[in-house]
């Protein structure tokens, strides 16, 4: 004979709820990396990758379909701001004419804080194949310096 164990019931319910959250992929901060690329989302747009070497910081933004004349890149101290407008489907298309509407269009602004000081005068940016590549040279004082060790 099995007595009803309230703790067992609660534990089973907790595990069910956890499983629901796992299926939704609610992992805070985890990169999307999933099978479905975000066409519409509530998170920051565009998604960025930051990488660096000794001399440069590189910011790559995934921004397909942006009108290049609307792109604006600004640097103040160590904050990089990217703004522009992504072209969605043409505006003259009637809503009934859509079979699917998964992409989104519209204006976007994103501010990225850079981890080091950069030289704002020498920033270069290139937009190719829907990816915005921004190259920011590090300020002289932010570059790593080799220190020679004197052996006594």
């Amino acid at each position: 004979m099995v007595w009803w164990n309230p703790f067992y019931e609660f534990d089973a319910m907790r595990r069910e709820i956890e499983r629901v959250f796992d299926e939704f992929g609610f992992q805070p901060g985890a990169p999307f990396g999933s099978a479905f690329l975000p066409g519409r989302m509530a998170r920051a747009y565009p998604l960025v990758n930051l990488s660096e070497n000794h001399e440069y910081v590189y910011v790559d933004a995934m921004a397909p379909g942006v009108d290049p004349s609307s792109l604006s890149i600004n640097v103040v101290h160590n904050t990089l701001t990217i703004s522009g407008e992504k072209r969605g489907a043409p505006s003259e298309v009637e809503p009934e004419a859509f079979h699917r509407a998964e992409r989104a269009g519209g204006k976007f602004v994103r501010a990225v804080t850079l981890p080091v000081e950069i030289d704002a005068d020498k920033v270069a940016a290139e937009y190719s194949d829907g990816i915005l590549h921004i190259t920011l040279p590090k300020a002289e004082k932010a570059k790593p310096k080799q220190i020679s060790v004197k052996v006594a």
């Binding site: 070497n53 590189y58 397909p64 379909g65 194949d129 829907g130 990816i131």
Partner: protein
């Protein structure tokens, strides 16, 4: 257009992945807009990082297959912060009879693919003249 996934010509994507690329590569489903006007269906797909030679579009037995390989790695040696990864894209659609499959045209610009799928002449709306006697 109906969404349908069938193995691509030459085997399922999983099999060709193992032969050609690292096992870690995954295929993403690009978001698409599909709208219709009098002459054609227009499909817009976001394919960031895909150069012209990385894009493969084929129609086989009324199944339209869009396959693309992005050519992107971050420029810097050390990664500070990574929000996106791009590898391959794959999506298939089943085309209806009203599409003239031989006349599909494609344009890839700024990472957006625009496919124009013209309708066969019989499927286009025709003006019918009304004779008044």
């Amino acid at each position: 257009m109906a969404e349908k996934t069938v193995p691509a010509v030459g085997g399922a994507p999983e099999r060709s992945k193992r032969e050609l690329t690292r096992a870690r590569d995954r295929y993403a489903r690009p978001p698409v807009d599909i709208y219709e006007n009098d002459d054609a269906l227009v499909l817009l797909a976001d394919l960031p990082g895909v150069p012209k030679d990385g894009l493969e579009i084929s129609v086989d037995d009324s199944v339209l297959t869009i396959q693309a390989k992005a050519d992107y790695t971050p420029a810097g040696k050390d990664s500070i912060y990574r929000e996106f990864e791009l590898s391959g894209f794959f999506r298939q659609f089943e085309l209806g009879e009203e599409i003239d499959q031989g006349k599909i045209s494609a344009e890839l610009k700024h990472g957006v693919l625009k496919l124009t799928l013209p309708k066969v002449p019989e499927a286009r709306p025709k003006q019918i003249e009304v004779k008044v006697s």
